[in-house]
Symmetry: C2
Subunit: 200 residues, 2 copies
């Protein structure tokens, strides 16, 4: 962990600049309040039941966020790659035990915002409160749309939507995880794929 690796933090600044404009000084404050960190494949960023201490901006690699149910089944709620966010946001906000685990599917580099640091950031740079509000608004919109898709589309339609929306993610992730994300079994996804190859 290092407080300052400026060259690693350029992608975050570029990302933020799409939403709001920061002065050089504000960028400096922001960077001083964040931490660069590398995780290896299979390492956990958060474990279900622990308190989630960080929101992470992904620089490289890939993570999955999933919930283990009473039967020990894994339900993936999201994947995160470069330029996305990852955490158990509910746990992070309320500082209560996490409902989800976040695990790296590849070696993954992130920039971490701790709970205390993010409060400081909001105080010192109120513009960033706006930025995070906008990020969360987008996440909420995406989540609501996913609920509607799960009700109104068949599994095949949902899979085709996933392929179209996240072509990069589909390439690098095992099928059984995509099945989990879609809420179906790996066997049924296999069947869907062979139907698609044959021609619907």
């Amino acid at each position: 962990m290092h407080r300052m690796i400026p060259e690693k933090k350029q992608p975050l600044l570029k990302y933020i600049s799409k939403y709001i404009a920061l002065t050089k000084e504000e960028e400096g404050i922001l960077l001083s309040k964040t931490t660069y960190r590398k995780y290896l494949k299979n390492q956990y960023i958060v474990q279900q039941g622990d308190i989630c201490n960080y929101e992470c901006f992904v620089l490289s690699g890939c993570t999955k966020t999933f919930h283990l149910d009473n039967e020990g089944q894994e339900h993936i709620v999201m994947f995160s790659i470069e330029d996305w966010w990852t955490s158990d946001i509910g746990s992070f906000i309320t500082q209560t035990p996490a409902d989800y685990s976040v695990q790296c599917i590849e070696n993954t580099e992130v920039i971490q915002f701790s709970h205390d640091d993010i409060e400081d950031i909001y105080k010192e740079i109120p513009k960033l409160e706006r930025f995070f509000r906008q990020i969360i608004e987008r996440a909420l919109v995406a989540s609501q749309k996913r609920i509607v898709r799960s009700f109104s589309l068949t599994a095949k339609e949902q899979y085709l939507h996933f392929k179209k929306q996240y072509p990069k993610i589909e390439q690098r992730i095992p099928q059984y995880m995509i099945a989990s994300y879609l809420g179906i079994t790996k066997e049924f996804l296999s069947k869907i794929k062979s139907q698609i190859i044959l021609g619907q």
Copy 2:
């Protein structure tokens, strides 16, 4: 529509005070930027395809937010009662056509925030940006939990969860709308209920 009906706006101020403290002056600014409005049962606050102009705080009554799919089927994504918010937040934020309709199930009183007014409010009272961020964070957490429930619970378990979490809403809403919210048919909900009465 009236710009100032202060006694109607007390519940909103009380609600906000649970999250942040406003001065009397700030309360005045806020109230001057919001509108009180009454809708009759069955009236639409937003129609799918239109641009959603308002976020509404519900003072009394009840609304449903739903999506009509290609087969003309209605999928309810949320109900809103007193002290909740209602709108198509995606459409409101991005000022693009709404994916959802919001319709009143009862005569409903609301306080409306227009898109322009809310931007003014953020500028004049930055604290309220924090407030809305927190509201949206909570909505996101609830939405993610609902996705997990839809994957890991049976329809009966989801219904029991709904009854427990929203006992007030269950009383005042027709069964077929609850079925739509749960993503099942009214016939199957009817079967579930008779199973529960008999004893699981």
